[in-house]
Symmetry: C2
Subunit: 220 residues, 2 copies
């Protein structure tokens, strides 16, 4: 886990202990918020919409999250932690570069599959210039990524893969895995489907592993 994006701790007016109802409600609110923020963007999403989707009143929502901004940050924090926790290529199962990369790609793809809305919120935030989480990202992304880049450089030095730019490799993997969440509308339109199925994601995973691994000079 990475360090928190906002300090929920220092909430003077909030109850001391997190009760059962509070935990349950916060969970439901966060899910709704993820969906609404993903569908309308930060400004387009209204507290009212999120509350309605959760099944509670606006004021009640504001009782749990004292402002739209705080709620938004909480949503972002959720997805960012998931995203950054899976950032480690190093810690992936397997010994060979091929195995590690395959796991990495499939892990990233899995996030697109299981957290499409969170991914969209994150994408929106980045596209808009990361106005809310710029600092947080600066502090955490590079640090974690460096180890992975070094690993890839080592693979290159050892002649295990072709000479390529590690950074662009990661950009490519991130983009081509996240696209199945962020651009699902477009993909569904092309594939003529209402929803991407388990098989679609498997197929995408197979494709990406095949092409990327072979593309950087690995046997499969």
């Amino acid at each position: 886990m990475t360090k928190p994006l906002n300090d929920n701790t220092a909430e003077p007016s909030k109850p001391r202990r997190r009760s059962k109802t509070r935990i349950a409600h916060e969970e439901k609110i966060l899910n709704s918020a993820e969906f609404i923020f993903a569908s309308y963007g930060y400004t387009g999403a209204t507290v009212e919409k999120i509350a309605k989707h959760t099944g509670i009143s606006k004021q009640n929502l504001l009782y749990y999250f004292s402002s739209k901004d705080k709620l938004y940050r909480a949503v972002l924090e959720n997805i960012l932690n998931i995203w950054l926790d899976k950032l480690n290529l190093l810690n992936q199962e397997g010994d060979s570069p091929a195995e590690k990369l395959k796991h990495y790609i499939r892990d990233k793809l899995k996030i697109s599959q299981t957290h499409p809305n969170g991914s969209k919120v994150f994408a929106n935030e980045i596209i808009n210039g990361a106005p809310h989480i710029g600092d947080y990202l600066s502090n955490n992304l590079n640090k974690k990524l460096q180890a992975d880049v070094d690993l890839v450089k080592q693979w290159i030095a050892d002649g295990k893969i072709d000479v390529i730019d590690p950074y662009h490799l990661f950009f490519m993997i991130w983009a081509s895995t996240q696209t199945y969440a962020d651009f699902s509308t477009q993909i569904q339109l092309v594939l003529n489907k209402d929803k991407l199925t388990e098989q679609d994601f498997d197929k995408a995973g197979d494709f990406l592993c095949q092409v990327i691994l072979k593309g950087i000079g690995l046997k499969i």
Copy 2:
């Protein structure tokens, strides 16, 4: 050119001929709008902000584009036409699959470089479920893409490239080229740069061509 997204023609109250000032102002407004929409999303962008960025008053802007929605559609139409016009793999220069693909990839990347804001607006729109241009996209995307998909299938049948899913190949190319526009914030952060340079894009192009071509079984 693809058919228009909205009919600017049927504007009863608008002047008959497009005067010099009108053309110039519309151009400047569209540019500003692209930037503001890219930075704030549809709802977050305000007519006031766009007007200020253009250097005119809000009411004056509304004289040229009678509503925020119309302006937004005009921006989208611009970028979509650019995007869809470059969609043809078939019409790319060169005879060999390798040559055609290389041009295709570099063309797409060029759009990211020259129209980053348009790309971002488009991305935002798709991420949010394409609420404004869903129909337009349904009508134009698949039709144009089909020819490209058929071509790739032919390459596979002829044994020129590996057996892969053509659709996922395009998803990958689109994602990994557009990411240099849409996620430029993140990329700049990782590369520790204020702005992506010509060299960065060249490097990205080289990388993508190398990995994708080799990845689908083409010699380079």
